[in-house]
């Protein structure tokens, strides 16, 4: 939110502390009438801000609240934007990366029709060999041909300023603009900046141009036609008719910049040179890197060098003359830096433009250079790769060479194509007077929010400029966060991470064993540690490496038991207030007393409205923090026997040791190019090597109570509780504390034992297993077969037990009843220890499917949570069984996943057909009996598949010896003779919205694919934006006032196609029905779709109640369970089976356990009540439809109908 000036500001009365997304959204909202949005990282928050501004009734400069509308995809957003523009509204949108690509066709049209508008882009890497959410210019550079003007912001301040300049210039020039800045580095960097006032905005927008825009609108009152189809005779001429507008545009932008400078005092140029007038070497660059170059240039010139930087702001239309004129005539060598890669090109985009400009200068003679500049091109910073002053200096040094390296890369070590420049990262220090602090925290402990709060406090209350940048790891549970905070008297241009901090805070003691947190401590820095020890005992608990660094770097060392203080004040594990107070108490950025008052003031602002109790406990935590903070006397010698833990166990495979372990340890930047496969391929099954140790409590088994039902295994989102059956003999070498039971049930041979074992270092402590456990001690019912207990005393013994458990053999699959809950849970999960949220509602379904079919499945995964926990480095969870079989997984895009998976199926069918035909043709060399058996194998069951695998293995051996070309050809296809299971995974954002068209087509294709829709009812991965699966009455982003229309019934829509197997399931409500649906779907020879209720952190309650909520959803009739099996029609059986009973609780008794519903009753009780009534009506109505559906398909009713309508047929 844009904070109002609180009057305490010393610098200016318009300073605000915010990130570029908020700064941009602020401007866009002020000058738009329609804003079309769709979430995509890192642009999502721009849309969220716009939506929240409108929801709060904030008005644009014409006194109207802009209409903010969410679409089903970026393609949809661009289409709506195009339409809104054509009918005369001032329209903007926000996007990034693939989203911008989806907008591209419309951008050609919008530009081709000279329609003023602005697309704000948080520039992000486009997925190539891998997806990346981070920042570079590959998306915007791909838009060069669209005809959009392209204006670049290098910093948070510029994001606000250029956003307005873009909106103003587009109206003046009629050229639509892409305004962009670096994703994350700028979009998410928090800076203290000057806020452009509404008065200035008002002056920057010329209403005459607004009226002209409206006058061009399509209207039946003065109809014209636009968007005609033209032929070879006229298209070319008509296309050239826009040239004058493009020629005029740069001048208009420059004039707009001048006008802006007159109003604000902030001056910008199309090409802005910084450096001495007689510079010899020059870097030309656009984006946040330009600020780093600016900072470096200043320092280098102070040391007597003559270097300059040219910042490109208006990249399109590219004004060659202005560019040339901005370069000092003394420049003799230039490096053009591009933050993108155009493989196979003569050079990256900006480089080619500069070359063209210099070339044209020779004929046009705009400027005389003493020496015709030599130009080299370099790539830097892809996917937010660090770009630092030492790198900049290295490039300037290269420019001194007689033959500098061209087409170089900087920031990586390229030992394959040898393009990289080596550089020395040491010896560069921040400017004097700049405070640099690093804070290591866990996502859940509030470190980042405390730091954001500290920046605001310092920004608002001192003359300092402030910068905050936050690095998150890619896990959704137990994620590590590192906050980088800078404060200083001058504007901060350092667009890179802190590597020499004068303050380091470690908010989690266990990090000391895992991460080198003091690596970046400057000599004499202050180190603040949250340690669960008395101040006299802290030192002895530090690993040797930490002690040594404290001594060597002469750090001041402070310690506090923050958890103790937080707990004492009723704040659980939220140590944000405690650690923030300690930071202010010892950092001396503000006088201690003043700082404490300000913290309390901030607390009051944050919690004041939520009740006195929260307020008082926070205040008390502040006071207690100071009392419990101690400076630790540092001994002269490091005597600790403890050492840091290696990132992966020593027995991990070579690739894991050499590559994955380095990434885990935070050294991924040091890996050379040769460490990676050129096509993006990675080995599977690597999560088992990354021992994360994030649980505070783990489940403990009571074998005397356990009934061996398997439910705990089934619901475990992380596959970290497992069950195995084995013979008593296997126990000979079992550790003493290893727990086992006699197998219960007649199906087991004598002396069969069963063990249920927890992987203590992989468990996240979510408690779902304990919640689902149905077995209770008859004498004391609160004692279940599983109970949570603190991990600390159990960890070492359970690690040994787990190792032993893993070595026990897997039970013979073909001897298990795999269609039962219990039987299936003896199957090895081939999806384990993912980074999904603790208590995730999606992963239990995936895990179950891999248990059942993992050894022969191929997965197409839509972008979203499941592609992140499924495939984000460093480690990935899909794994293999002892034979090396396991799921093969890939992610194409967000929007095309159904089609992607269909492609898998088409290939597999075709290859199988080829293999069969080749096999048929192979006469003589292959035994006819074997051939026959292979071609006619029954693979409908586990034993059948197993036998076919054996036959195929035999065949392979024969083919290997045959040595003929035919044999080799068949050999390459022979594995397709074993039945494959194609799965298409994705969330509701994909299935209901962006991918629905493709999903619909695949369902109608008749091909044998299995679709799992993990329905969390919002876009979970990007932070809970509304989808068409979002229920009526729930609050979601983009539906802040509660969703007004009911959830789309994807289940019924799929049933109505008639050709697909359809099921709606909820594991927590009916696990057996889940099991049946998954098995039937896989067996069904055509397309199948399963819609699975997936509780989610975005629903707002403790995830350990997820299964209960699933049950309530079904009990209330909100989530009717059903299965529709078209095969049954042939057999004369009702294909539509309703698997849940009539509602027996009110919808609100389910809904109001969740904050997504509850919060509306707090923000707008009247509407909440009204929507809750409507929601109940919808539940009733849908239930009636489902009941009716059941009878529609009843075979006897069909006959009845036929007999009643007999005469009609006649």
């Amino acid at each position: 939110m844009i904070k109002q000036n609180n009057g305490m500001n010393k610098m200016s009365d318009e300073m605000v502390t915010l990130d570029a997304n908020e700064a941009t959204a602020y401007i866009a909202h002020k000058v738009s009438e329609v804003i079309a949005i769709y979430p995509i990282t890192p642009a999502s928050t721009m849309g969220e801000w716009a939506d929240e501004f409108s929801m709060a009734g904030k008005k644009n400069i014409w006194g109207m609240v802009p209409e903010v509308i969410e679409l089903q995809s970026e393609g949809g957003a661009a289409g709506t934007m195009h339409g809104a523009l054509q009918t005369g509204a001032l329209t903007s949108t926000f996007t990034a990366s693939q989203g911008l690509l989806l907008m591209m066709p419309n951008l050609f049209k919008i530009a081709g029709e000279l329609t003023p508008s602005v697309v704000h882009v948080a520039a992000r890497t486009i997925a190539a060999h891998a997806l990346s959410i981070f920042g570079d210019h590959s998306d915007v550079m791909a838009m060069r041909m669209t005809g959009m003007a392209m204006l670049c912001s290098n910093s948070v301040q510029e994001a606000m300023d250029m956003a307005l300049i873009a909106h103003s210039a587009t109206l003046e020039s009629r050229i639509p603009f892409i305004h962009f800045f670096d994703g994350f580095r700028t979009s998410h960097e928090v800076q203290k900046i000057n806020q452009v006032s509404p008065e200035v905005i008002r002056k920057m927008i010329n209403d005459e141009r607004v009226i002209e825009h409206r006058n061009r609108a399509l209207s039946s009152d003065k109809p014209v036609i636009r968007g005609t189809a033209q032929n070879p005779d006229v298209y070319f001429q008509a296309r050239e008719s826009c040239n004058n507008f493009y020629q005029a545009c740069p001048d208009i932008v420059q004039k707009t910049m001048v006008q802006f400078a007159e109003l604000t005092g902030r001056h910008y140029k199309l090409f802005e040179y910084h450096g001495p007038e007689d510079a010899e070497r020059l870097i030309i660059i656009l984006g946040s890197g330009a600020e780093t170059v600016h900072e470096t240039v200043d320092k280098m010139n102070d040391n007597g060098e003559k270097v300059g930087v040219l910042k490109v702001r208006l990249f399109r239309p590219f004004d060659m003359r202005s560019l040339i004129e901005a370069i000092p005539e003394t420049v003799h060598s230039i490096s053009v830096l591009d933050r993108t890669k155009e493989p196979g090109s003569s050079g990256e985009p900006l480089y080619n433009d500069i070359l063209a400009a210099l070339h044209e200068n020779r004929s046009e003679s705009w400027k005389f250079f003493y020496q015709s500049p030599r130009v080299i091109n370099g790539r830097y910073g892809l996917s937010s790769k660090e770009f630092t002053p030492p790198m900049v200096k290295r490039i300037y040094d290269e420019l001194k060479e007689i033959k500098p390296k061209n087409h170089f890369t900087i920031g990586i070590r390229d030992d394959v194509s040898k393009l990289s420049l080596d550089y020395d990262n040491t010896g560069w220090n921040a400017e004097k007077g700049v405070f640099e602090g690093l804070f290591y925290g866990l996502g859940a402990d509030g470190t980042v929010s405390a730091n954001k709060n500290s920046i605001k406090i310092i920004g608002d209350n001192t003359d300092n400029f402030a910068q905050g940048y936050f690095v998150y790891d890619s896990k959704k549970s137990g994620a590590t966060t590192i906050s980088h905070l800078r404060f200083g008297p001058k504007p901060i241009r350092s667009a890179y991470l802190i590597d020499k901090a004068n303050f380091i805070a470690c908010h989690q003691f266990k990090f000391l064993n895992q991460l080198d947190v003091l690596k970046n401590a400057r000599h004499g820095a202050t180190f603040l540690l949250n340690a669960p020890y008395h101040e006299n005992e802290v030192w002895e608990h530090l690993p040797h490496e930490v002690q040594q660094q404290i001594i060597d770097k002469e750090l001041r060392f402070f310690s506090i038991d923050a958890f103790k203080v937080a707990r004492k004040n009723g704040m659980g594990t939220r140590i944000n207030t405690v650690m923030q107070t300690c930071f202010f108490a010892i950092s001396e950025i503000l006088p201690k007393k003043e700082a404490i008052l300000l913290i309390k003031d901030a607390i009051k602002k944050a919690y004041g409205s939520k009740g006195e109790k929260i307020l008082q406990s926070n205040y008390a935590a502040v006071d207690n923090s100071i009392e419990n903070l101690f400076e630790i006397k540092v001994p002269k010698i490091a005597e600790s026997q403890l050492t840091m833990r290696p990132p992966v166990p020593l027995e991990a495979p070579d690739f894991v040791q050499k590559v994955i372990a380095e990434i885990i340890a935070g050294n991924g930047d040091d890996l050379p190019v040769s460490a990676f496969e050129a096509d993006g391929t990675f080995p599977t099954g690597t999560t088992c090597w990354e021992k994360r140790n994030i649980a505070l409590d783990i489940p403990v088994l009571e074998p005397d109570i356990c009934i061996q039902c398997g439910k705990c295994m089934m619901v475990c989102p992380h596959a970290s509780i497992r069950m195995k059956a084995f013979t008593g003999e296997e126990l000979e070498y079992a550790p003493e504390t290893f727990k086992y039971m006699d197998a219960k049930g007649r199906e087991w041979p004598e002396n069969t034992k069963i063990s249920i074992q927890v992987a203590p270092e992989d468990c996240t402590g979510c408690e779902l297993c304990v919640e689902v456990c149905p077995a209770k001690d008859r004498k004391q019912v609160n004692r279940k077969a599983l109970n949570m207990a603190p991990i600390e005393p159990l960890l070492e013994q359970e690690k040994k037990n787990w190792e032993y458990f893993l070595k026990l053999p897997e039970y013979d699959r073909s001897a298990l009843k795999t269609n039962t809950i219990k039987g299936s849970q003896f199957l090895q999960p081939l999806f384990e220890f993912s980074g999904a949220c603790s208590g995730c509602g999606e992963t239990p379904y995936i895990k179950l499917i891999t248990q059942l079919f993992g050894d022969r499945m191929v997965i197409a995964n839509a972008t979203g949570c499941s592609s992140i926990y499924g495939g984000n480095l460093p480690t990935t969870p899909y794994t293999t069984n002892k034979d090396g079989y396991g799921p093969a997984w890939s992610n194409s895009l967000f929007e095309d996943n159904a089609e992607f998976g269909l492609g898998f199926r088409v290939t597999i069918d075709k290859q199988q057909q080829q293999a069969r035909e080749l096999l048929l043709q192979m006469n003589g060399s292959i035994d006819a009996g074997l051939k026959n058996e292979i071609l006619n194998a029954d693979q409908s069951s586990e034993p059948g598949i197993y036998e076919q695998r054996e036959r195929v293995a035999q065949l392979k051996a024969i083919l290997a010896n045959a040595g003929t070309h035919e044999a080799r050809m068949l050999s390459s296809l022979v594995d397709y003779l074993v039945r494959k299971s194609v799965w298409i995974f994705g969330g509701d954002g994909w299935a209901y919205d962006i991918g629905y068209g493709g999903l619909d087509h695949v369902l109608a294709s008749g091909r044998d694919v299995n679709i799992l829709v993990m329905d969390t009812e919002v876009y979970s991965n990007t932070g809970g934006q509304c989808s068409k699966a979002t229920p009526l009455g729930a609050v979601a982003k983009f539906a802040a006032a509660g969703k007004r229309v009911s959830k789309k019934d994807l289940g019924l829509m799929s049933v109505q196609g008639g050709h697909a197997y359809v099921a709606r399931i909820a594991m927590g409500a009916n696990d057996m029905q889940t099991m049946k649906a998954i098995t039937e779907a896989e067996r069904y020879p055509g397309p199948s779709i399963i819609i699975a209720y997936s509780h989610c952190i975005a629903h707002g309650y403790d995830m350990k109640h997820g299964l209960k909520q699933q049950k309530l959803a079904v009990d209330s009739g909100y989530w009717p369970l059903f299965r529709y099996d078209p095969l049954k029609i042939e057999a004369g059986i009702n294909p539509f089976q309703l698997d849940s009973k009539a509602p027996n609780i009110a919808f609100k008794d389910y809904a109001y356990n969740e904050m997504r519903y509850m919060m509306l009753s707090k923000s707008n009780p009247k509407v909440a009540k009204e929507l809750m009534l409507q929601a109940q009506e919808k539940v009733n109505e849908r239930w009636r439809i489902y009941e009716h559906m059941q009878s529609v398909y009843e075979p006897d009713k069909k006959e009845e109908w036929l007999s009643n309508n007999a005469d009609v047929d006649n």
Binding site: E52, T481, N1021, G1023, V1035, K1037, M1155, R1156
Partner: protein, 337 residues
């Protein structure tokens, strides 16, 4: 027939008052109750603890998943302003009811902290409530707290609230005090304008299938009125403040009995939930018939006619009563043999 009575100093047209129940949540229902003859309405209880719990949960679930993931810095759109963190909806309902009906509206507050009692009670007064019923609900299960300490808490709560209000305050309590007679007097001395006897608790049950404890509340039966009946009979002569009888009042007979032992009004909920508002008309009609038959001219005349000071054998309301019942049972049993 003159059925007029007075409660907490407020004149009422008859003694029939719907007690705190979900019925009052619905404006139309309250109107129907008024039309059927209700002389005042007690609103459903506002639970301070519930509000605090919800607000804390709101803060927790909105803020805690925040800033843990690069792609999702938060999971909810946080509104700039909340409108119902402090029970504004309840206050709106008071205002709404005051506009909808002519009968007095009594707000009901179930609080736990001192600060909370006062601020919520004041807000209710400002919203237009004619009186406030403090629903003091606590199970004295902590063995470390003495009876006196428990009683003092009640007394202090009433004193605190009374000081800050100008509208009358009634207190709804349970009978579970070791010396309720003394307690009742202390409550009156603390400033209570009326006592509502008695509160019914949520009584936990056990689900034998799941082996879990179930919180539940069954609707009352007429039989349960015996408890307030006895206590009102015994206490009426010792108290000047108003007394409302509640629990188990289902029929005209029940109302008459309560009035005879000295209740100023009778509160009912279960019967209204069972039978709907029309039952009020029926009760009023049957009361009138009975009073005519017994030649009463007004309710006031009948009020307290059978309290412990007015019956020939006051001890019949006390322990002797118990013995007699047992004896009579045995006689019956013997007789049948």
């Amino acid at each position: 027939m003159n059925l007029k009575t007075s409660y907490l100093g407020i004149p009422l047209k008859n003694p029939l008052v719907p007690s705190a129940s979900p019925l009052s949540n619905d404006k139309d229902m309250v109107k129907r109750l008024e039309d059927a003859g209700a002389s005042a309405i007690v609103m459903y209880s506002l639970f301070e603890e519930q509000i605090i719990h919800e607000n804390n949960a709101l803060d927790h679930f909105i803020n805690n998943p925040g800033n843990i993931n690069a792609e999702a810095l938060s999971y909810f759109p946080e509104p700039e302003v909340y409108h119902n963190l402090h029970a504004e909806e309840y206050l709106d309902q008071i205002r709404d009811l005051k506009e909808t009906v002519d009968i007095p509206v009594i707000a009901s507050l179930n609080g736990s902290s001192k600060g909370g009692w006062i601020s919520y009670a004041k807000n209710m007064q400002e919203a237009g409530a004619d009186a406030i019923e403090l629903n003091i609900y606590s199970i004295a299960g902590n063995p470390a707290i003495t009876a006196l300490e428990v009683e003092d808490i009640y007394v202090e709560d009433i004193q605190t609230v009374k000081k800050s209000l100008h509208i009358p305050v009634s207190v709804k309590v349970s009978p579970y005090f070791s010396s309720f007679g003394n307690m009742a007097v202390r409550l009156e001395q603390a400033g209570a304008d009326g006592l509502v006897l008695f509160n019914r608790f949520y009584q936990p049950d056990i689900d034998l299938e799941k082996m879990e404890v179930l919180p539940s509340l069954d609707l009352s039966s007429s039989f349960e009125k015996r408890l307030p009946l006895r206590w009102i009979a015994m206490l009426r002569p010792h108290l000047k403040c108003s007394i409302a009888a509640t629990t188990g009042i289902h029929s005209a007979e029940d109302v008459i009995k309560m009035t005879l032992v000295g209740a100023d009004i009778t509160m009912m909920a279960s019967v209204l939930l069972y039978q709907g508002p029309a039952v009020l008309q029926k009760i009023l009609h049957e009361m009138t018939l009975w009073m005519e038959e017994k030649e009463y001219e007004s309710l006031e005349e009948m009020k307290g006619a059978m309290n412990s000071a007015s019956v020939s054998d006051p001890s019949s309301f006390e322990r002797a009563n118990y013995i007699k019942i047992l004896q009579s049972y045995r006689l019956n049993f013997m007789g049948k043999l």
